[in-house]
Structure formats: structure tokens, C-alpha cells
């Protein structure tokens, strides 16, 4: 993701209605928004993302701040739209297709896991975390928010954000597929396979 100061001009112009500037913001942030929502609401991520941008467009004239603030502001909108969506759906959010098997892995499954689109694979794993950890990891790592901004989006204290992030990362580190992938990668390097 490009550094936020590059987005400053686009943000400024978009606030005045410049469509191509808005397009820059959208292209920069939509993948992260989509992926965050994928983890949080599952298959309605696209719809909720559209609602997020629509609300952002409507409220943009009331937004003041730099691109970093904008990023946090946008994800806060996304989170609220996601919460609304979950209420509408009235059920637990579906996670992206999760091929995790409890317990051990066969090598075949692990290989399959490696070859699947790696972003989807990563999101699937993050989605297996408890919600607060999954959200913290997504906002810190994928949305690129710092601890205070993440705390603002989640409505939590910064200490809670750090704890949730750490727990999430540790849990991911010990996940069988992650460890298998680590071994796979090492093996490929050692044997010289590309």
C-alpha cells in the first residue's frame, strides 16, 4: 500500500468531488477493505464494501484529517456496516471456505493449502481466530492501522488491541498449516526448487 502522504492530494481533491481522485482512494484501499470484510462477514463482503464506500462518499465533506485518519475513518465505517449486515443476516457470519481439518494434516492437504491462492488461504486462516483477534490482526496487518487507530476502529483500549493482536499472531504461528507451509518453503529453498 502506498504511503499515506501520496494519498493526501487525492483525499483533498476527492473531498471537493473529484471523481478520479476518489478512484485513487478506492483503488488503494478497496482490497484491504474487502479482505477485512471477508474475514468479518464472509461472502457478503462485496456488498458491505459498496455500502462502506457509499457512506464514505456521503460523509466525506464532514471528514477532516490526513490520509492516515481517513484510513481509520473508512474502516470504522466498514466495521459498522458489517455489524449492521450481521444483524440483518441474523446469524453468525460465514467464514470464507475453510479447509482446515482439526488435528493433524496429511502432506497432501498441506500441499493443496500451499497451492491455493495464497491470499485466500491467509484470510481463511485468520478467520479461524476468535473475532477480536481476527479483527485486530486484519486491521493492524492488512489495513495498516497503528495501535491507536485500530483501537479507535474497534472501540477498544490500546492495551486490549495489543493483547488481541499478539494472541492472534501466536495462534496463527502455531497453526498446523502455517507450520507446514514454513517447512514447505524451507524445503523448496533447500532443494533449489523455485
Amino acid at each position: 500500500m502506498p504511503p499515506d502522504d501520496e494519498l493526501a492530494d487525492a483525499l483533498h481533491a476527492a473531498r471537493k468531488g473529484d471523481e478520479s481522485a476518489f478512484a485513487v482512494l478506492w483503488r488503494t484501499l478497496q482490497p484491504a477493505v474487502l479482505r477485512y470484510l471477508r474475514v468479518v462477514v464472509g461472502d457478503t463482503a462485496e456488498d458491505v464494501a459498496s455500502e462502506t464506500w457509499l457512506q464514505a462518499a456521503r460523509d466525506l465533506h464532514r471528514f477532516t484529517g490526513n490520509p492516515t485518519d481517513f484510513r481509520a475513518w473508512l474502516f470504522r465505517i466498514a466495521r459498522h456496516r458489517a455489524i449492521d449486515e450481521r444483524r440483518r443476516a441474523g446469524r453468525r457470519p460465514e467464514h470464507p471456505t475453510d479447509h482446515t481439518h482439526p488435528g493433524g494434516h496429511t502432506r497432501d492437504t498441506a500441499t493443496e493449502a500451499l497451492e491455493r491462492d495464497s491470499t485466500t488461504w491467509a484470510l481463511n486462516l485468520i478467520a479461524t481466530l476468535p473475532t477480536d483477534q481476527a479483527e485486530a490482526v486484519m486491521l493492524r496487518v492488512v489495513a495498516g492501522l497503528d495501535v491507536p487507530a485500530t483501537a479507535h476502529v474497534l472501540g477498544k483500549r490500546t492495551g486490549a488491541v495489543r493483547v488481541a493482536t499478539m494472541r492472534g499472531l501466536r495462534k496463527l504461528a502455531t497453526h498446523p498449516q502455517v507450520r507446514t507451509r514454513r517447512e514447505q518453503t524451507w524445503l523448496r529453498e533447500v532443494t533449489g526448487e523455485v
Binding site: G17, A23, P31, S50, H61, I126, T165, A173
Partner: protein
């Protein structure tokens, strides 16, 4: 295999991973996972750009006219304009011209000019002559007989998406931002509005008991903003002007219904409101 506590990620390593650095070979798998999660956007993820931009454009077309290309020459703050006009008018007052201008008694050309500058302060357009080329917006265009739609030309629709009770900088050239109506409707008798906005809303509607109908008409017909006016002041001549003089306001602010003589020409102009 259980992970020993000493093998677990520590704070420094976690920060490094988040920053995109790989702390140690032991955490290579996790590092890969995080890199995959934040990999560049894919074409599939970026496919919806056109729809998103279109939605953005639609939002901005409905929003206040002063924003955007066709308002580029207008001052960004309606309040600034009014203040400037007030200052100019104050200066004019020294020569006595202002009084004449307010009464609409200047020669046509001068009156026109004064009107163009000072309509926000209650200076009316020249009485004689055809359609005033200064297209001032008029709440009367919205407050036609019940159920009737504004004319085909872009009529003013103070349809601001903001819910703010006060006009924001770059406020529209229409009489009343829709946000005021929302605030009025939200709380009985407009307690959510500040007193200035509330007064102007009541003035524009022609009375406190008219506000409900006035707002209903406004919200019923969300036509595109009239962007043709060159005067970005937040009011038509007199109808919701910040001036304290009641008479231009009262006579210009169209009574809500049943007054055909107040039905404006498509370019709502004061001459119609000063019809004999």
C-alpha cells in the same frame, strides 16, 4: 507438538512481523501468511471501480452545487460572501445609495448590479425589465401548490446530504439546506437547530406552522441543484436573508400555497415576487 512458551512470539517479533520484516526463520510461515494477507490487490478485487466511482459521482451531484467544477469560481464560503457584501453595503450606506438600493429605486442597471451583489441582504432586483439574468434560487419554486413538481429547468433543491443544522462552508445557493429540515423533523419545533438556522427556516417557510409543509415539499422533490446562480449567498433575495428587515423578506418569501402570482418563472426571480 506443543509450543514451548519460550518459542512463542514476543512483542518485538510481533511488531517486526506487522511491519513486514521477518524476525527469524522460525516465523517464516507466519511471515508468509501475513505477506499473503497484505499482497497487492488482485484484478478481481479491483473490478468494481467503475461502479464505486459512479456511486460517488451520484452522491456529489445531489450534494450542494458550490462544490465541484461549475462552482470553481465561487467563493468557498457563503458566509464570507455575505460578510463581504455586508461590508460593501455598509460602505455604500455612507453615500446613501444603499437605502435607495434596498428600496429598489436605483436605475435599472445599477439596481441590477446592486441586486447581484447584495441580494442576500435584501436588495431586490429591478422591477422593470425581463427575466433577471441573475438567477437566484427561490424557495417558492419548491413551495408550489401541493403535489406539483418544480419546473423542468433545474430548480433549487436544498438537498444537502449533511444532517448538520448549520450551513456548512460552501453552502448551497438555495434557501434552506435540507439538513435543517431533517433537524426540524427530528425534534419538534426545531430544537435541534441553532436559533439562526431555525429563524431562517421559519422565514423561508413563511411561518412556524408552515415549516412542516415546506420541508415535506423539499424532501419530496429532490431535483438537481440549481448551479446557474452566480451568487453563492445562502438565500434568495430576501427570503431567508440574514438581514433584519422583515419587509423584503416577508414580501419575497413566498407564502406556501394558493398564490399563483408568486409562482415564479423557471428562473425564479424577484420580479415575479414583486408583481404588482
Amino acid at each position: 507438538m506443543r509450543t514451548r512458551r519460550s518459542d512463542q512470539l514476543d512483542l518485538t517479533q510481533a511488531d517486526q512481523l506487522i511491519a513486514g520484516n521477518q524476525p527469524s526463520p522460525r516465523h517464516r510461515g507466519l511471515s508468509d501468511l501475513l505477506d499473503a494477507a497484505r499482497a497487492p490487490g488482485t484484478p478481481e478485487e479491483l473490478a468494481g471501480e467503475q461502479a464505486a466511482v459512479a456511486a460517488f459521482a451520484a452522491v456529489h451531484k445531489r450534494a450542494a452545487a458550490p462544490r465541484g467544477k461549475d462552482r470553481a469560481r465561487a467563493p468557498s464560503s457563503a458566509r464570507t460572501v455575505v460578510v463581504t457584501a455586508a461590508t460593501s453595503l455598509a460602505l455604500l450606506a455612507l453615500t446613501g445609495t444603499a437605502v435607495t438600493a434596498r428600496a429598489g429605486n436605483l436605475p435599472d442597471e445599477a439596481q441590477q448590479h446592486a441586486h447581484r451583489l447584495f441580494s442576500a441582504l435584501g436588495v431586490p432586483a429591478p422591477r422593470t425589465g425581463p427575466t433577471n439574468p441573475v438567477i437566484t434560487t427561490s424557495p417558492s419554486a419548491d413551495r408550489t401548490k401541493p403535489g406539483s413538481k418544480p419546473s423542468a429547468t433545474p430548480t433549487p433543491a436544498p438537498d444537502k446530504s449533511a444532517g448538520a443544522p448549520t450551513p456548512s462552508p460552501g453552502a448551497t445557493a438555495t434557501a434552506v439546506p435540507a439538513g435543517w429540515c431533517k433537524a426540524w423533523q427530528a425534534k419538534p419545533s426545531g430544537k435541534a437547530l441553532n436559533s439562526e438556522s431555525r429563524r431562517r427556516l421559519v422565514e423561508a417557510a413563511g411561518g412556524e406552522d408552515q415549516v412542516d409543509d415546506y420541508c415535506a415539499d423539499l424532501t419530496a422533490s429532490p431535483t438537481p441543484e440549481n448551479s446557474a446562480t452566480t451568487l453563492p449567498a445562502p438565500s434568495t433575495s430576501g427570503s431567508s436573508s440574514p438581514s433584519n428587515s422583515p419587509s423584503p423578506s416577508a414580501s419575497s418569501s413566498t407564502k406556501p400555497r394558493g398564490k399563483p402570482s408568486n409562482l415564479p418563472t423557471p428562473h425564479a426571480t424577484t420580479p415575479s415576487r414583486r408583481a404588482p
